[in-house]
């Protein structure tokens, strides 16, 4: 339960309930036993903390939303440049439904807004869960978050500078003199997001593998054993995440395989907890 108080010296968040609060008497009263009553007692005892948590959650959601909206408004000013970029890479760009131009622009602005405001949103989520974490959990999670952000950026850059132009060029080369491109803007946006964002997500693979290693689900031997199936799986995942063609599938599979190898190299360092540090699923120290 996230409501449970955990003693932690590093609690710095002012919005979190104070750690010195006295634990009320937990002994059950007459005739009030069983799981349902246990929950009721918990809510009675922790009610104040629950309200504080909900209040904090509310403000963190509002802050995230405000950041997203502000960033989207800024994103709206960048939309002409995005359209210009699309036109440059696609040739002729058209819209085929009355409201399509409007909604495509909104989508572009919202996507830019989400990208720009994502650090704020992640930070808000981080601050919200912070009081529930032990110091060593905090350290691990911070590492994972930073690595995740880094890999996301790397994946996005790979998609933007390699996968998107290469697959677009491949597809556009099928046009002929009698078959000229007039690309529908909403579909072009879908193609663009499909080739860039899917790489940003796929680049999170080593993190998932290392998290599994850390939890003891997999170890270095498993990584060696699973190399061939992983190679196969990388191509399957790449095929599922990219437009249905071999070029972007191979393009996507290559970094996946590389990332798998990186995870395999790093796994021995992650699989056992370092001395003096309990594993992630250890019970809290008393």
């Amino acid at each position: 339960m996230g409501l449970e108080e955990r003693p932690s010296p590093e609690r710095t968040n002012p919005a979190a309930p104070s750690p010195s609060r006295e634990q009320p008497d937990r002994e059950s009263r007459e005739g009030e036993e069983g799981p349902a009553w246990a929950l009721i007692h918990l809510v009675e005892e922790e009610g104040q903390a629950l309200v504080e948590h909900l209040n904090e959650l509310r403000w963190r959601l509002i802050a995230s939303l405000a950041a997203f909206l502000a960033a989207s408004v800024y994103g709206w000013t960048l939309v002409p440049e995005a359209i210009g970029f699309f036109k440059e890479s696609a040739g002729r760009l058209i819209f085929v439904a009355p409201a399509e131009a409007f909604f495509t622009r909104i989508k572009v602005a919202a996507t830019i807004g989400l990208l720009i405001s994502s650090p704020v949103i992640v930070h808000q989520a981080w601050r919200f869960v912070l009081p529930a974490l032990f110091p060593h959990e905090k350290r691990v999670l911070r590492g994972f978050l930073l690595a995740g952000a880094l890999l996301f950026t790397a994946g996005l850059a790979f998609g933007l500078f390699v996968a998107y132009p290469v697959s677009l060029k491949f597809f556009m080369s099928f046009g002929t003199d009698g078959m000229r491109p007039a690309i529908v803007v909403s579909r072009h946006l879908g193609f663009f997001l499909g080739t860039t964002l899917s790489f940003a997500l796929a680049f999170q693979l080593p993190l998932a593998l290392l998290a599994l290693a850390r939890l003891g689900v997999v170890d270095a031997a498993w990584f060696r054993e699973m190399r061939r199936p992983a190679l196969f799986l990388a191509f399957v995942i790449a095929g599922a995440l990219t437009p249905a063609d071999a070029v972007s599938q191979i393009l996507m599979a290559i970094p996946l395989v590389v990332l798998y190898e990186v995870a395999a190299r790093l796994a021995p360092r992650f699989e056992r907890p370092r001395p003096g540090e309990p594993p992630l699923d250890a019970p809290p120290e008393r």
Partner: protein, 244 residues
């Protein structure tokens, strides 16, 4: 049944009325296809909406979207005849006074429906098109396909027609004593909210067409309150403004 009118006779009568309504509808669709679809589709091209032309993106698109438009127009044209068949179906169950009252309601309701559609088509639609098409440009060329255009047209215009029936619904409910003009005035804020929700559900998902549908509805709501005051039972013959 008391007069020897058994279940089978009723079913027979129902069949007759449904068949006639369907025939009216088909006839109206045919008339609409040949007489109206071309004009309706061409009306806004190079008009004040800023639409420069239409294209079709698949071989059968032009034909099927024209057919779709004919069905929508046919529904509008045939509505009074379909309403008459429905009235004729239920008329034997009504007493003489009510029978006449319901029959008299049909022209008024139809006028409101057509009025709503015409208002949408001639006033709101050009504005909405101008608004949406203005987001083209800067390398984004306008090539509206006829299928998308007809869908937009139908999804835009028909809700106006149906929602303009509000005064009729209010009139009937007030006459039946279910709705009092006082309650309508008291619950105005909920009505405003409901109107905006309904307008959002029925129009394409943007604030602009929502507003364009909600504004006339708010006016109609106020008119309905006045109508309800006239129609409320007990107030029709100088009962004062105490109805409800």
């Amino acid at each position: 049944m008391a007069q020897g009118f058994n279940v089978l006779d009723h079913l027979d009568y129902l069949r007759l009325r449904v068949l006639r309504a369907a025939l009216w509808f088909v006839a109206a669709v045919v008339v609409a296809y040949f007489a109206l679809t071309g004009r309706v589709m061409a009306y806004l091209i190079r008009g004040e909406g800023g639409l420069t032309g239409l294209v079709f993106l698949s071989p059968a698109e032009a034909f099927f979207s024209r057919l779709k438009l004919a069905f929508a127009l046919g529904l509008v044209l045939a509505l009074p005849f379909i309403a008459y068949q429905a009235w004729a179906l239920f008329a034997p169950g009504l007493d003489g006074k009510r029978r006449r009252a319901v029959l008299l309601l049909i022209p008024g309701a139809y006028l409101l429906f057509v009025g709503g559609c015409l208002f949408a088509f001639f006033v709101v639609l050009p504005l909405a098109l101008r608004f949406f098409l203005s987001f083209g440009g800067e390398g984004l060329e306008q090539e509206i396909s006829v299928g998308n255009y007809v869908d937009f047209l139908i999804r835009f215009v028909l809700p106006f027609g149906f929602l303009f029936e509000l005064p009729v619904a209010v009139l009937v409910l007030a006459r039946a004593g279910i709705l009092s003009p006082r309650a309508m005035a008291r619950n105005r804020k909920y009505a405003v909210f409901a109107i905006f929700v309904v307008a959002a559900l029925l129009t394409p998902p943007d604030a602009f067409s929502q507003l364009m549908l909600a504004a006339p509805l708010l006016v109609l709501y106020e008119i309905s309150i006045v109508l309800a005051r006239i129609a409320a039972p007990g107030t029709a013959k100088g009962g004062g403004g105490t109805g409800g």
